[in-house]
């Protein structure tokens, strides 16, 4: 480490992405300083769902690689991280959605993702609480869940990482200025502060997408898999207006998460009654028995979304020394290991485990001025 450097790498943001990057770097023997402003991030607000998504090849590649990495790491995770490999069961309400399930099935199997198609009656046997009359589903066996805040803390506990509560007010390549005026230098700076990235780097095309979640009291063994409607693919991901989709996840405590919602153009963190009602109605359409369960807490969070739904992973083309790991939308917890591996490979100029091209920031930011 050079004189005058506070660390080899400064990571801004102690959410799951910043923590995963910091851990990967520290494990290679680098000294990492993680700065976090203590603002509300997506890591604490999300469901901690680890899932393979295949809306496009790049999303599939990154999520498949990352879910596999979580499975490999699972034995090391402390119990507080609440990792479970309980699988995702995608629900098809009608023949059209079943056709989507079938094409996903083919696509995923071709890529070596273990999954099974489930038809009507068998669906009920797997998840008795689901309503009658659903067309079927697609079970992705290797998907999982975890408790992201504890997992981020576990990652940050790696030797070689120093954490500091500080707000960064300015970026300048490989150095950052804190809001007390102090400049900190390092070999590289990694920006991993999700929705707050735009405050420091206004040219980033990151947009907040608000989501609501509710958690129930404890009802053990009511639900086994994370249940997501296949309409999710069409209704929530691709809509421009506010939307909801059934997303029910059993927690190891026996509680159920009920989601999901998406809203654009707002940064108001209030829990909105109308959206809560809309979201819960959607979930009870799939699982009528939910209506009688007690909800104990609701909250909101903001997903940091990029225009094409893929994260920005790599060096900022116009700010040498500044590396980006932002824009993960709803997939930050899932793709944290993959993001860290891709970023570290680029930092060390090594061959990355996946083709990095689809995730490079260049696709939104003009080519490098310094190159």
């Amino acid at each position: 480490m050079n004189q005058g450097l506070v660390a080899d790498v400064i990571v801004i943001g102690a959410g799951i992405i910043g923590a995963a990057c910091a851990q990967a770097l520290a494990r290679r023997g680098l000294r990492v300083l993680v700065l976090d402003a203590g603002l509300h991030g997506a890591t604490a607000a999300g469901m901690g769902h680890l899932l393979v998504l295949d809306d496009n090849p790049a999303e599939l590649a990154l999520s498949q690689y990352s879910v596999q990495r979580w499975r490999e790491q699972a034995p090391q995770l402390p119990e507080s991280c609440a990792y479970r490999s309980n699988g995702t069961l995608w629900l098809a309400a009608n023949a059209e959605e079943m056709a989507v399930a079938q094409s996903k099935h083919m696509n995923l199997q071709a890529r070596g993702v273990t999954c099974e198609l489930i038809t009507g009656n068998a669906l009920h046997a797997r998840e008795p609480e689901l309503r009658d009359g659903l067309e079927g589903g697609l079970l992705i066996n290797g998907d999982g869940i975890l408790y992201a805040p504890a997992t981020a803390n576990w990652m940050l506990d790696t030797p070689g990482i120093e954490q500091r509560r500080a707000r960064v007010s300015e970026l300048d390549g490989n150095r950052v200025r804190l809001d007390d005026g102090q400049w900190l230098n390092a070999e590289a700076v990694i920006l991993a502060n999700g929705i707050q990235a735009n405050d420091l780097c206004p040219e980033l095309p990151i947009e907040p997408k608000k989501g609501h979640l509710l958690i129930t009291d404890r009802y053990p063994r009511k639900v086994t898999h994370t249940l997501v409607e296949l309409g999710y693919v069409t209704s929530a991901h691709n809509a421009t207006g506010p939307s909801t989709a059934c997303n029910i996840q059993p927690r190891p405590t026996g509680q159920l998460f009920i989601g999901a919602s998406r809203q654009f153009g707002t940064t108001d963190p209030q829990v909105e009654g109308w959206m809560l009602a809309k979201m819960l109605k959607r979930a009870t359409e799939y699982m009528p028995g939910l209506a009688q369960l007690n909800g104990i807490r609701a909250w909101t969070g903001f997903r940091a979304a990029s225009p094409d739904g893929l994260p920005l992973i790599g060096q900022h083309p116009k700010r040498k020394g500044l590396w980006l790991a932002v824009g993960h939308e709803g997939m930050g917890v899932t793709t944290a290991p993959g993001t860290a591996d891709l970023l570290v490979a680029q930092l060390f100029n090594e061959t990355p485990p996946l083709a990095v091209q689809p995730y490079l920031p260049q696709r939104f930011l003009e080519e490098a001025a310094y190159a």
Binding site: L214, G273, W274, L276, I296
Partner: protein
């Protein structure tokens, strides 16, 4: 089914009942919501072993006799449903109530502080034990120790004795000087003087606080520190409460400002939010007499009878003086902050020990890291303790304010606001 009230009152303790009765003669349509089965609040809680004072009975009868007062028992506020509209739930259903004026009479809850053994069966709050006994818990011939702070200890002891318990000790943490200073002021409120004589107990000790509850599967003994010396008493029950915390969550959600830890009100019991009033313990601890007069003032003002309200100001001032004397006498000894040991549970819903909490910078960080306050009580118990122990401010309340059936939450209008 939706409902409308000219005046909606939240809570049917002394303040809420008094507010409803004061407003009743105006002819306004009044709705009183209360989460208990019967009106009376905590102090006049009814039950198989409760002996209600005449005043409480009379007020209850008058509430029933007024055709323009509707009382919903066992009903909780779940969410704001729009401007001047609340989502509420009882055992059977959820529905919306619209209103023009609202009076918050949401009372207070006990401050429970963690100490080794406090989660053992047999250990309750001081008010908690009183409520259990009134509700029918048999305590005949049981050995009871009551500890903590404030006049509730004497009231709880009186209920226990009345029902056949043997009260071994009442351990008040405040010093003899503080309590004597308070007692000397009591002649200013003759009723309180008489009451204090009737409640006085020869087992009352000042400068005395709990150190640990001892036992394996159940409480077997209590370890106390009395003026620096450790004593152990074998007993069957320990009732321990460290004063009261105002229930301000609903008021805060409605946008009412706080004054310290209580809802801020002006001379008319008006909160910072127009058409919203507050009375009783949610505006600060003061006892039932103060709650009654504050409730009456709020009730009069809410229906436009400011003259009647003004007439009650002197009476309120008198009881405010009592409240002030009380609150300064029973301030908590900072030593109580060090009762919890690293393995003492602080959040009993989620089994979070003290060691998992100390060292965090605030409530939110601690909660995310440890799950503290994430259980069914949603931090109602541990939140107050952590505010006292670490000075962590609780986060703003979010709906659902109380656990609620998902069916109830679906009563909210799901069309986006324009």
């Amino acid at each position: 089914m939706n409902e409308y009230a000219d005046l909606l009152i939240i809570g049917a303790g002394p303040a809420g009942m008094s507010a409803a009765l004061a407003a009743a003669s105006s002819g306004a349509r009044i709705v009183v919501l209360d989460d208990n089965p019967l009106p009376g609040g905590q102090i006049w809680r009814d039950g198989p072993q409760a002996s209600l004072p005449d005043q409480a009975r009379q007020m209850r009868e008058r509430l029933q006799a007024n055709s323009n007062i509707r009382h919903h028992a066992g009903t909780r506020v779940i969410a704001l449903a729009g401007a001047k509209q609340l989502l509420v739930e009882d055992a059977d259903r959820g529905w919306l109530i619209g209103y023009d004026k609202l009076i918050l009479c949401t009372g207070a809850r006990e401050l429970l502080l963690p100490f080794p053994g406090w989660t053992l069966p047999g250990v309750t709050g001081a008010g908690g034990l009183q409520a259990l006994i009134k509700g029918g818990l048999p305590v005949q011939d049981e050995r009871v120790v009551i500890a903590g702070s404030g006049p509730l200890l004497l009231a709880s002891a009186a209920t226990a004795k009345h029902n056949g318990a043997q009260v071994l000790r009442i351990a008040e943490q405040a010093s003899a000087v503080a309590v004597a200073g308070f007692a000397l002021q009591l002649p200013r409120w003759p009723g309180k003087l008489v009451q204090s004589f009737s409640l006085f107990d020869r087992h009352y000790r000042t400068g005395s606080h709990v150190v640990a509850a001892l036992g394996n599967d159940r409480l077997e003994a209590v370890r106390l520190r009395h003026r620096g010396k450790i004593v152990e008493l074998a007993c069957d029950r320990l009732a321990c409460g460290f004063g009261l915390i105002p229930n301000t969550q609903l008021g805060q959600a409605l946008g009412c400002a706080l004054d310290g830890s209580a809802l801020a009100v002006d001379a008319w019991q008006t909160t910072s939010h127009t058409d919203h009033y507050a009375a009783g313990e949610c505006t600060g601890f003061g006892g039932s007499e103060l709650a009654l007069v504050e409730g009456a003032i709020a009730g009069h003002v809410a229906v436009g009878n400011t003259a009647a309200a003004r007439n009650l100001w002197p009476r309120r001032a008198r009881w405010q003086g009592f409240a002030k004397a009380l609150n300064s006498a029973f301030g908590l000894d900072p030593q109580l902050k060090s009762l919890a040991q690293p393995d003492t549970l602080v959040c009993r819903c989620e089994d979070v020990p003290y060691s998992a909490l100390s060292g965090h910078v605030g409530w939110r960080e601690a909660k995310l890291a440890s799950r503290c306050g994430m259980g069914a009580c949603q931090g109602r118990v541990c939140g107050g303790a952590l505010q006292y122990l670490f000075d962590w401010q609780p986060t703003a309340p979010r709906p659902p304010f109380n656990p609620a059936r998902i069916e109830t939450l679906m009563c909210l209008d799901d069309t986006p606001p324009v």
